[in-house]
């Protein structure tokens, strides 16, 4: 195996890992984009909603295993599907009972248009979720083990007898499911009446309400959808990534980086943004020590925000 082949293999392997991780990150970012992009609320608790989704998926997974699905490759995915309505409900209630109090029309009179109140409210929610999970589930690492997470497809050898790429089956399926979820969501937002009302509410809430759109309801649905999409991403991640009550914190930045990269307000953009973040993270491991992988994400994020705040895929739409 020549040196060139070694480098090439390392590069291709990192590229594949980046695409797979990026797929899940993309889904995560799309979940946030539904909330941040449509409502312009900085939700600090987004990562913690994802953590909650991971635990609920885990709970269903264990439950299913007790009912004869132990060892089945399908178990985790059934658990994820079961988690979706639960997390939709969690998001719906969280918005109805808490977030709605500090967003929308009521905030006009507040300092900074209620941004301060939103921030601190979601910080409070994050604290409750993290520490509540700590009380309920304890600090141990958990993971959703599927037979697929420990096996891989081999692509290649691509160059003579060398240069093969190994694709972890769990991750590969996770990336495929993310892609499918995105397509479904894009169809929902792009085609349906509901999607139109969401986009209208995002673009100009006042005008949308004059056109007879119930903006509060649109926001509530956006928040609930965003929460359950992020939870799905969490479930997919959990098949490959051990988690604990404070896992959410590690991903909040990834999510915001992806959303800003994709251009605030764009849902598909957020997916590509998350994909880019995954690629940057994995490819940086070729040149940087592992500890600096995450630092690379943040530096990349800063560069993007400062040099191109409208995002890689966005357009300048704001007027002075």
């Amino acid at each position: 195996m020549t040196e060139l082949q070694i480098h090439l293999e390392a590069f291709l392997q990192a590229l594949a890992a980046g695409l797979l991780v990026g797929g899940i990150y993309g889904l995560m970012c799309v979940g946030l984009a539904m909330i941040f992009g449509i409502m312009r609320v900085i939700n600090f608790a987004q990562g913690d909603f994802m953590m909650l989704g991971m635990y609920i998926t885990y709970f269903f997974f264990v439950l299913l295993a007790g009912h004869g699905m132990a060892g089945s490759a399908l178990g985790p995915y059934v658990a994820m599907v079961l988690t979706l309505p639960v997390m939709y409900g969690v998001g719906y209630l969280a918005h109805r009972l808490l977030i709605a109090r500090v967003t929308g029309g009521k905030t006009a009179a507040l300092d900074g248009e209620g941004h301060y109140a939103q921030l601190i409210l979601t910080l409070g929610i994050a604290l409750v979720l993290q520490n509540g999970a700590m009380m309920l589930f304890g600090p141990e690492l958990e993971s959703i083990r599927t037979p697929l997470s420990s096996s891989a497809w081999e692509i290649g050898p691509l160059w003579g007898d060398f240069v093969s790429i190994f694709v972890n089956k769990g991750r590969g399926i996770a990336a495929l499911i993310s892609a499918a979820a995105i397509v479904a969501l894009a169809a929902l937002v792009g085609r349906s009446r509901l999607g139109k009302s969401l986009r209208a509410a995002a673009d100009n809430p006042v005008a949308a309400s004059y056109m007879g759109i119930d903006v509060d309801r649109a926001y509530r649905i956006a928040f609930a959808l965003g929460t359950c999409i992020t939870a799905l991403a969490g479930g997919l991640l959990a098949t490959n990534f051990p988690f604990h009550p404070f896992t959410g914190l590690e991903f909040v930045i990834v999510m915001y980086a992806g959303v800003v990269l994709g251009g605030i307000g764009s849902i598909l953009g957020a997916f590509w943004g998350g994909m880019v973040i995954g690629l940057v993270q994995q490819l940086s491991s070729l040149v940087l020590p592992t500890q600096l992988q995450n630092a690379a994400i943040f530096v990349f994020f800063l560069l993007i925000v400062i040099l191109r705040p409208q995002g890689l895929f966005g357009r300048v739409a704001e007027r002075t």
Binding site: L98, D111, I120, I125, V128, Q130, M135, I253, A257, A295
Partner: protein, 587 residues
């Protein structure tokens, strides 16, 4: 006098706090006494930038952590005492603030907040990579006091109190002077602040440097108290969150907010942790989170403002009648005052153009303004009037053309530079500083020409007098009527002693009688020698007011001339009312 009294009360509270700290002998409780002060200091640091300028920072842990690591590494590698390292950390924090601020202040709103989040987290990983996972202060048995290693933990409380008192005094000084006024103006409306002659970037940089200095010093002291520094404990997201939690909980934009927040939240969290943490790990966070949620739902602006509003309301209820602002006396009827013969050209606009993408918003516009005249710029919606103003006072850079003000080409200069040169401006959408009084609002505009606070007060008072608002100078802007707000904005522009005043739809949203008041005020200003350029839709009021019209349509000058000739110009009538109307009425 009032500030002296506040200072004395503050000293008394500080002394009582220290007295209480002396009575405690449980070392954990003593630590809590110190930590309350530390987080209050950190909250003040956050408040200095985010509370006053409204630019929310999630990244104050960057400055805090740099200070903490500077203190511990300084002692390990250079043998420097914390007594030296705390001030030095302040310098480091200030430098970091400038480095962070220069690129990041290009961003606004959410983008700024998110970008700030990235700095401490990137630093966190860098410090882990450098191998500083857990750095401990070496014990100094020789000179414990010189190395701030007190055997009596109550001494830490005393040092922390001294730091807090210093930071409170610094904050109050900022709040009282043009520094604080500039920051509040930036928070309310950055564009209006620029137009009022405030160099917004410079003040923001000063704020972040000062804020970083406080955070750096606080971080260094925190490290000394805890003896161990880890990346997560000083750069972690919870550290930044702590700063904004205490400040927002207590009340943003006031020196007392962060102190109130720290005094309530820190003991609550720590005691819960001590009492219940062993049996229910995490209960501290849950209860704290619930408390934060509850308070924010009840008092979204923080405890301080809520309490103050409640007290105010009760105080007002006791008065028999609410003290409504009396209508201002009409300004001196300078209506028919003879105009000074129009002097030399003060503003010469030559071939000014600007497009947005394919849209030619302003196209080859030329006109002249002579000293002492009132020039009206009219045109239908979208004719490019406001864009023209934005080009004239520096919000936009022209693609081509010259803006010669008093013989100097000012095209593309920043608004505050133009303001200092003598070009004042008001806005179509009013942006008063609601929590300030009329006098304070106007004072913001006076700083550009004033060298001292007293002079700014004098200029502000004079400007208020000139527009006829003298009897409501002490009212909060939030209780004014639209007419009074328009006059106040006028006064704010006048306070900067402009020679040329650009008025953007000053008459919009006013009733007939109110229009007359404002028109009279503008005439009075003109009679006092200020040259005025005014944008307006409504013809009637303008015909009575201006000496000359410039009519814009589709970004181009359609006509210029005296009011009489303009109202009869067919092209103007067409532009306003359409061809059909003009054809019918021409007959």
């Amino acid at each position: 006098m009032k500030s002296m009294r506040t200072f004395l009360i503050m000293l008394a509270v500080a002394a009582a706090y220290l007295g209480a700290a002396l009575l405690v002998d449980n070392s954990y409780h003593q630590l809590i006494f110190t930590l309350v002060l530390v987080w209050a200091c950190f909250g003040l640091s956050w408040n200095m930038l985010s509370g006053y300028t409204g630019l929310v920072s999630f990244g104050h842990a960057a400055f805090f952590g740099l200070g903490a690591y500077a203190a511990v590494l300084g002692q390990i590698h250079l043998g420097l005492s914390p007594w030296l390292m705390i001030p030095l950390s302040a310098v480091i924090g200030a430098a970091a603030g400038l480095l962070v601020g220069l690129p990041t202040f290009r961003l606004r709103g959410h983008y700024f907040a998110l970008a700030m989040l990235a700095y401490p987290l990137a630093l966190l990983y860098v410090f882990e990579w450098l191998g500083y996972q857990e750095v401990t202060f070496p014990m100094m048995r020789e000179h414990p006091a010189w190395y701030m290693q007190f055997s009596d933990p109550r001494l830490y409380t005393a040092v922390a109190m001294a730091m807090l008192l210093l930071f409170v005094q610094v904050t109050r000084r900022v709040q009282r002077t043009r520094f604080g006024m500039a920051l509040i103006a930036i928070k309310q409306n950055e564009a209006a602040a620029e137009a009022a002659g405030i160099d917004t970037l410079r003040w923001k940089l000063r704020a972040i440097a000062l804020s970083g200095a406080i955070a750096g010093a606080t971080g260094a002291f925190y490290a000394v108290v805890l003896l161990v520094v880890t990346p997560v404990s000083v750069f972690g997201m919870l550290v930044s969150a702590q700063a904004l939690t205490v400040a927002m909980f207590g009340g943003v934009g006031t020196v007392w907010g962060p102190i109130i927040g720290a005094a309530i939240l820190i003991p609550l969290g720590e005691i819960l942790h001590a009492e219940l943490g062993a049996t229910y790990p995490g209960i501290q966070g849950v209860i704290l989170g619930v408390a934060i949620i509850a308070v924010i739902l009840v008092a979204p602006e923080g405890v301080f403002w809520k309490t103050r509003d409640l007290l105010r309301r009760r105080g007002r209820a006791q008065q028999v009648a609410p003290a409504l602002p009396a209508p201002a006396a009409a300004p001196a009827p300078a209506a028919a005052a003879p105009r000074a013969p129009h002097g030399e050209v003060i503003l010469d606009v030559q071939g000014l153009s600007r497009s947005f993408g394919g849209l030619k918003a302003v196209q080859d516009v030329s006109f002249q303004v002579r000293q002492g005249m009132i020039l009206g710029i009219i045109g239908p919606n979208g004719a490019g009037k406001t864009t023209l103003f934005n080009l004239l006072n520096g919000f936009l850079r022209p693609d081509a053309g010259r803006v010669v003000f008093k013989g100097v080409d000012m095209a593309g200069r920043k608004p505050h530079v133009l303001c200092a040169a003598g070009v004042g401006r008001t806005f179509q959408v009013m942006r008063p500083f609601m929590r300030l009084t009329v006098a304070q609002n106007v004072k913001v505009g006076a700083y550009v020409k004033a060298r001292s606070e007293a002079e700014a007060d004098a200029l502000a008072a004079q400007a208020i007098e000139r527009v006829g608002l003298a009897d409501c100078a002490g009212h909060l802007a939030s209780v004014l009527t639209t007419r009074q707000l328009r006059l106040m904005e006028l006064a704010r522009a006048v306070a900067g002693q402009p020679e040329l005043l650009l008025l953007d739809e000053t008459l919009a949203g006013l009733g007939q009688g109110e229009v007359d008041d404002v028109v009279a005020a503008i005439r009075a200003l003109s009679a006092q020698g200020i040259t005025i350029v005014i944008i307006e839709h409504t013809m009637q009021a303008m015909v009575r007011l201006v000496d000359q019209f410039v009519v814009l349509d589709h970004g181009e000058v359609l006509a210029t001339g005296e009011p009489q000739s303009i109202t009869q110009d067919m092209r103007v009538v067409e532009a306003y009312l359409g061809k059909k109307w003009s054809a019918k009425h021409a007959a």
